[in-house]
């Protein structure tokens, strides 16, 4: 296993002994293939019971320069570049309690290991929610969602996790526990470290608990879908909604290799408000009539990942473009990867449809690229496609990050793409927070 100071490294037996003394026998086990982080199986998996134990584990790991990979629900362990090594996977599984829920203040403090679904069910008892719809809520934990900055269709109305998180406690590499932010929605005391943690992929510290502002659950919710002949018209419709007086809680475009373009629009509000808004959206669609949506349009982002893992290799990219570029990106994908030969005969996610694209009106999108069984989409071609796509995006500050890719693609293109002129500043932040580089070494942007 690579490391910066192999000679000083304790052997496995020594490490086990120390860890057991901190977390007990049940809190540590050998890593298994299912624990792999981007293909690297951790030597050991540790589950501290509380922040004090976590702090102890980190102090030891830091002194011994063990490479650490924090984990929550383990749903996104393959995101990022392959780390240089993982000696310890440290799980927040036992930080699984909602610590302080103040429904009247509409704030909640929860342990990092609480799953999104568990949190939402607690909040629902008071008619409230965390207004965020990340992937795999049953398993994804709040710590993991913060670290990966995952957000769904609700983002257009409520913002991302950065906008909903008002406080956080993190454990640093040396075991220091540091709180920042607070328990009130409005607070400008000190640096906003919770935002720094959002999307940092476990490279700065381990989030142990977070505080969120909450929103009421909508009284009513209605989704309608429209089918357009091409991306240009679909995009125009989406932009018209953004430019209108309608307040949607989700607007997404779905298309793929064998299909036309569907647009789903969701309105959440009180009963008296739904119909006028739906009517306004209908008008914006012009001649095109709405259809009842296919089952679960808001779960389709999740379906880009095959349940139980992919049998055929595939790539999934997270795209970020300006809303006005929604159509040109889709058209670029279509022109590069093939136009529909059997228009409308497939569904998003159908095997063999080649590619599937889902884009929100915020400009965030997810593109799935399937490797054809006939080898029509081989690695070299995909890598080339990703490079050309990135070249198109970079000048406007847009990006395409690979969330899933087989080794043959990972070898050819950087997972993250260009981090821009701030990369050295990011490296200095990493150096300050984790001077020995124990956290997820090499997994993040620019080799951080």
């Amino acid at each position: 296993m690579p490391g910066i100071s192999k000679a000083a490294k304790p052997n496995l037996a020594q490490t086990l002994e120390v860890l057991r003394s901190i977390v007990g026998d049940a809190g540590v086990r050998r890593g298994a293939p299912a624990d792999a982080v981007c293909g690297v199986v951790p030597e050991l998996c540790v589950e501290p019971a509380d922040e004090a134990e976590l702090s102890g584990v980190l102090q030891y790991a830091n002194e011994a320069e063990l490479m650490v990979s924090p984990r929550g629900g383990g749903t996104k362990l393959d995101w990022g570049t392959q780390p240089q090594g993982v000696d310890l996977a440290i799980s927040t599984a036992r930080f699984n309690r909602v610590l302080d829920y103040a429904p009247c203040d509409m704030t909640v403090t929860a342990g990092a290991g609480v799953s999104i679904a568990q949190l939402q069910s607690t909040l629902a008892t008071h008619g409230q929610r965390l207004a965020l719809d990340p992937l795999w809520p049953e398993r994804a934990t709040i710590g993991g969602v913060i670290a990966t900055n995952d957000s769904g269709a609700l983002r257009v109305r409520y913002g991302g996790i950065r906008d909903l998180m008002i406080g956080a406690t993190i454990a640093l590499a040396d075991g220091t526990l540091a709180a920042s932010g607070g328990k009130v929605v409005k607070n400008v005391a000190g640096y906003d470290l919770p935002k720094l943690m959002a999307g940092s992929l476990g490279t700065l510290g381990i989030i142990t608990r977070a505080v969120f502002r909450l929103h009421p659950l909508p009284e009513c919710s209605q989704t309608l879908s429209w089918t357009f002949a091409d991306c240009q018209r679909a995009k125009d419709f989406m932009l018209a909604i953004s430019d209108s007086l309608v307040v949607p809680s989700g607007v997404q475009m779905r298309t793929g290799g064998y299909r036309s373009v569907d647009v789903d629009v969701r309105i959440d509000c009180i009963a008296a408000g739904i119909e006028p808004q739906i009517e306004a959206v209908r008008k914006l669609a012009g001649e095109v009539r709405p259809t009842e949506p296919e089952a679960g349009p808001w779960q389709m982002r999740e379906q880009l990942w095959k349940p139980g893992g992919d049998t055929n290799p595939s790539c999934i990219l997270k795209l970020s473009v300006l809303p006005t570029q929604l159509a040109s990106v889709a058209e670029f994908v279509r022109s590069s990867l093939g136009s529909p030969q059997h228009a409308n005969s497939g569904r998003a996610g159908d095997p063999g449809s080649g590619w599937t694209l889902l884009m929100h009106s915020t400009g965030l999108g997810w593109l799935r690229l399937d490797f054809g069984e006939d080898g029509s989409m081989e690695c070299a071609r995909l890598a080339e496609f990703i490079s050309v796509l990135r070249a198109l995006l970079v000048s406007a500050g847009e990006s395409a990050v690979l969330l899933q890719a087989p080794p043959c693609v990972r070898e050819k293109v950087d997972i993250w793409g260009d981090a821009g002129s701030a990369l050295s500043l990011m490296m200095r932040i990493k150096q300050q927070f984790d001077p020995r580089g124990i956290f997820n070494r090499g997994r993040f942007v620019g080799g951080i």
């Binding site: 400008v188 999307g199 430019d243």
Partner: protein
């Protein structure tokens, strides 16, 4: 003051370099420098060694490079309306005024973005995008004079941040001159640029991480209708109960403001907004699609009445009526001059539900000290602005007022709140940071400072009660001279 004293000072050669660079954009006469000796917090004053007024990002970069080379501390300044001494100059250092970087560089309606320079006035953004039906949401009360750059430094809020969020919600990216003089782009017009969320940590850092020279803003579609309700209650507690009821029923108003009897009297004396003389006045604004606002306003009215609101509830239907209702609230701080020769504007936050207990505590302290406290709140998010009234001419009153204002902050923290909701820590409240944060919390925050500004040249001496000296870690440890002399600590 430890670290500050060790900074270089402005040598004649340094000033010559600035003069060559800026021509008339350099101020060195003592008289003119006095204009810059304080911001909106006027009891703290330091005359800077020089003030520079660059017109371009390149000039800002050249100035900062000079400062880095000569080790001269610099303080960026917008309009100087800040209330926490965030733009207070540093002894021997310079002030970099961004007033001349006042161009709106780009308006992109289709993507709901605006790109501006830091010296652009807050309301100027809204004025530019209003013809297209958009507005810039953060609306600090000083919005007609304060700058976007200053808003970025302070993460300014305003009455409408309950629904729309703060400056940080609306800043997507920045061009920043780092304290070593390098220029970086952080964030972008598109969301989720790969890497750390540096915009998130830069906004609200009170000018301690560098100087923004370009800011990418999100603009917001103006809602279909805006309705503002004014309800009178016998007490702030009754009004507070109505607020809790409104929020608990699932309504997210655009703004909820509350004023107590003393504030109402002051506002009436100042601007004649037609406020009823009552113990607690509530202003609730709803915005959004017409049908929804109409229905919800009915519920708000009901909740107010159920909590003892006086029957004559006013709902402003026109822009003029609405402006009149807001006029009193927005003038509240300045109006205190009508009822007291001097006053301190405090800014604390509490969980909304703690309002009755905190009010009681403030009243108790106020009568114990014998000083009046007027209260203006952003009630929806628990942001209190107690105004401590005093008379400087009476010996001891100013000190008593300062102590009382400080004690109020401690009450806020004990109730689970914060020492500042929107005015910032600055020079004013750094000694209160430890009421809210433990040493390791503050040390960890300063790791960010060390990454951005290891020499601590950018607005030094603000936010943190103690300066952390930055060291490259790991490596052979060499104690800093200040550490040896006991003036600073290396954590």
């Amino acid at each position: 003051m430890s670290a500050i004293a060790t900074k270089g000072t402005t040598s004649p050669a340094f000033l010559d370099s600035l003069r060559t660079l800026l021509g008339d954009g350099l101020i060195t006469s003592r008289e003119e420098l006095r204009t810059y000796e304080c911001d909106g917090l006027t009891n703290l004053r330091v005359v800077p060694a020089a003030v520079v007024l660059p017109s371009t990002a390149e000039q800002v970069q050249a100035i900062v490079r000079l400062c880095a080379r000569e080790h001269v501390a610099f303080v960026a300044r917008g309009s100087g309306t800040g209330l926490s001494g965030g733009a207070l100059p540093v002894e021997g250092g310079i002030v970099i005024s961004l007033a001349r970087l006042n161009r709106i560089l780009e308006i992109d309606i289709a993507n709901a973005r605006a790109v501006v320079e830091p010296g652009v006035i807050n309301t100027a953004v809204t004025q530019r995008v209003a013809p297209y039906g958009y507005f810039y949401a953060p609306d600090p009360s000083s919005q007609t004079v304060c700058t976007i750059g200053g808003n970025v430094a302070e993460n300014s809020g305003g009455a409408h941040c309950l629904k729309y969020g703060f400056t940080t919600t609306h800043v997507l990216g920045l061009e920043v001159v780092l304290p070593d003089g390098s220029l970086v782009q952080i964030g972008s017009k598109a969301l989720d640029a790969p890497g750390y969320d540096l915009s998130g940590v830069f906004v609200g850092a009170e000018g301690t991480l560098g100087i923004a020279t370009k800011i990418i803003l999100r603009i917001v579609r103006r809602p279909e209708v805006i309705q503002t309700l004014l309800a009178a209650f016998d007490s702030t507690n009754a009004a507070g109960a109505a607020v809790s009821d409104i929020i608990a029923s699932g309504i997210l108003p655009a703004a909820i403001e509350m004023m107590d009897r003393l504030s109402i009297q002051a506002c009436e004396a100042a601007v004649h907004a037609g406020y009823p003389e009552c113990g607690g006045l509530l202003l609730v604004e709803l915005d959004g699609p017409a049908a929804e606002v109409e229905a919800l306003m009915g519920r708000v009215r009901q909740k107010c009445l159920a909590n003892g609101a006086w029957p004559q509830i006013r709902v402003a239907q026109t822009e003029e009526e609405r402006a009149l209702i807001w006029k009193g609230r927005k003038a509240a701080f300045a109006a205190m001059g009508r009822i007291s020769p001097n006053y301190i504007v405090q800014d604390g936050v509490i969980p909304r539900t703690a309002l009755p207990a905190v009010m009681e505590e403030i009243e108790r302290l106020s009568s114990a000290v014998g000083l009046r406290v007027a209260n203006v709140f952003h009630a929806g998010d628990g942001n209190l602005h107690p105004l401590v009234l005093y008379d400087r001419r009476i010996p001891g009153q100013e000190e008593a007022a300062e102590r009382l204002a400080g004690d109020i902050l401690k009450i806020c923290v004990r109730a689970g709140g914060s020492i500042t909701g929107e005015h910032g820590v600055g020079a004013d409240k750094k000694m209160f940071m430890s009421e809210m944060f433990a040493e390791p919390d503050m040390e960890t925050m300063q790791l960010v400072r060390c990454a951005f500004d290891p020499e601590q040249l950018s607005n030094p001496g603000k936010i943190f009660p103690r300066t952390r000296l930055c060291a490259e870690r790991p490596g052979p440890y060499v104690p800093h001279p200040l550490e040896l002399s006991g003036e600073a600590q290396l954590f």
